[in-house]
């Protein structure tokens, strides 16, 4: 179970892709996303997925992207079977299923290669109010902490004889109460302490807070920007004027 919480933790990876300006990473993800939505052939979607995999490799995040994609395979299979069942035919069902994988891949490439810090900068760049941004940052920061807290409480209650996996659905839900109550209490205490610490460090004391980090497009970012736009336009062109055999 612990892997689930640790999977949510951001890992710093240094790679040619991760060190791009976050806006460029977002753009590339959006381009992949749009292309996945447009692609209407098995080959077309397959090429997109292959490109996503290539980018993931470039970002040294193949394993983490692969893990999300593997997870989405369950749903993709479901989509495939469902479409086949309603009579869409093998190729179209396969396209739909693959498209789903491509969409998941394109989003996960962004979230896996972008640090919470960079997400925050993008949000600020989009002029989202600071309190909203900070609430988001705190949520991302503490969700894994609270999850680990939950597992610790579960272990503690299990060692005191709580049997979480016993009984029917109703009693299983009821069994969760001794876990949920301490979890809620802990979280309330935690949020009180966080509020105190924020106030003590002057949060909200000036209407114009600054940031240690900033986003700046370097020549490298600009080159990738131009390249990715060129590839994107080319892909749109191919999509428009060329039909894949299947």
């Amino acid at each position: 179970m612990y892997w689930l919480a640790s999977g949510l933790l951001y890992r710093r990876v240094v790679s040619p892709f991760t060190k791009l300006d976050p806006r460029i990473k977002l753009l590339i993800a959006i381009e992949f996303f749009v292309l996945s939505l447009l692609a209407s052939s098995v080959i077309g979607v397959a090429i997109i997925i292959a490109s996503i995999v290539a980018v993931a490799a470039f970002a040294r995040s193949l394993r983490r992207v692969g893990r999300t994609v593997a997870f989405s395979l369950i749903f993709a299979t479901f989509i495939f079977v469902l479409n086949l069942w309603i009579g869409l035919g093998l190729l179209r069902s396969l396209t739909f299923a693959l498209r789903f994988i491509a969409i998941i891949g394109s989003t996960s490439i962004f979230f896996i290669t972008t640090s919470p810090d960079e997400l925050e900068q993008i949000m600020k760049w989009m002029r989202i109010p600071r309190d909203v941004v900070f609430a988001f940052v705190t949520a991302v920061r503490f969700i894994p902490v609270v999850m680990l807290d939950a597992f610790q409480i579960m272990d503690a209650q299990k060692s005191r004889g709580l049997e979480l996996e016993k009984g029917g659905l109703l009693s299983r839900v009821r069994n969760l109460i001794p876990v949920l109550i301490p979890l809620v209490v802990n979280s309330v205490i935690r949020s009180g302490e966080l509020a105190e610490a924020m106030e003590s460090r002057g949060y909200g004391s000036t209407p114009k807070p600054t940031s240690l980090y900033g986003m700046r497009l370097r020549w490298y970012d600009k080159a990738v920007l131009v390249l990715s736009l060129a590839v994107f336009v080319l892909a749109l062109y191919i999509y428009h004027f060329y039909t894949f055999p299947f």
Binding site: D117, R141, E193, E196, M198, E199, S200, G202, P209, S211
Partner: protein, 285 residues
């Protein structure tokens, strides 16, 4: 700001009483206390006697964040706390809390250290300079880019302290900062406090139950009981006074041994503060 002679205390609590909103009992009753620049003061007393409440009053969380019945006043560095905005107080009084986890907001150590400076709106180069300086001072440069979940509790506490020191406060208050740390990490934090006191002249008020951790570096102990200040003096004065144990203090063995010896008529030439000092005194001809 008024001119400050050397005799003007950095912190002065004058007739302070406070009860939390909707609480029948007063958490603080007529507290008077003066703390001078450069002092290290231990705030001791049983659980629930009002130590945390007093610290909240010192940095302005009370009354700015916690409403309640507030009487008397606190002056820090010439400013009356209740009339000074939290943002300004944050720069004058740093507050290190017990739980290191809940004081780190950002995803890298250096960014978290800059948190208070960002809130202040300092320009980026100035923040960079201060962050690097503080990381050097606290020997945490190698952690600069680490996310919080890759830090030990002791490292987190150090990072939280760095974030406070970066704001250049004159006074730093610590509420049971070591209670979640192992003994070795705890004593490292204590050495750090001593270093910051000596090198930067920062004044410290520390709530701590394990008195023996701090008595070697503390100038004074203030003992509270049921919301009042009941004893005050140097560690030796307070801890060799039989009254101190009635207020629920855990007297470190060095001091109880010293009192015991004195009672039996063998007064040591100098009251020791650590077991090592005591051994020296006992071995002296």
């Amino acid at each position: 700001m008024a001119s400050k002679g050397p005799e003007v205390p950095l912190l002065s609590v004058e007739g302070l009483s406070f009860s939390y909103l909707d609480s029948p009992r007063a958490a603080l009753t007529d507290v008077n206390l003066k703390i001078n620049r450069g002092e290290i003061v231990i705030l001791a007393g049983q659980s629930g006697c009002g130590k945390s409440t007093l610290l909240r009053c010192v940095n302005g969380l009370i009354p700015h964040m916690y409403p309640g019945d507030y009487k008397g006043r606190i002056v820090v560095d010439g400013d009356v706390v209740a009339e000074t905005p939290m943002g300004k107080l944050a720069q004058m009084v740093g507050f290190l809390f017990q739980n290191p986890e809940n004081q780190i907001f950002m995803f890298s150590v250096e960014r978290d250290i800059a948190f208070g400076l960002e809130n202040q709106g300092l320009p980026r180069q100035e923040m960079r300079r201060r962050v690097d300086e503080v990381m050097g001072l606290l020997h945490i440069e190698p952690l600069a880019l680490r996310p919080p979940h890759e830090l030990s509790d002791g490292q987190k506490q150090r990072v939280a302290l760095a974030g406070i020191i970066a704001m250049r406060p004159n006074l730093v208050i610590l509420d049971e900062p070591t209670s979640l740390l192992d003994p070795k990490t705890a004593s490292e934090l204590v050495s750090l406090v001593s270093k910051l006191n000596k090198e930067l002249g920062i004044t410290f008020v520390i709530v701590e139950h394990r008195l023996e951790l701090l008595t070697p570096i503390a100038d004074r102990i203030v003992v509270m009981d049921k919301g009042r200040v009941v004893m005050e003096g140097t560690p030796t004065e307070v801890l060799t006074n039989p009254a101190s144990s009635t207020h629920g203090l855990a007297i470190p063995p060095v001091f109880s041994l010293y009192s015991e010896l004195a009672e039996r008529g063998s007064r040591l030439p100098r009251a020791p503060l650590t077991p090592e000092e005591m051994a020296q005194e006992l071995n002296a001809p």
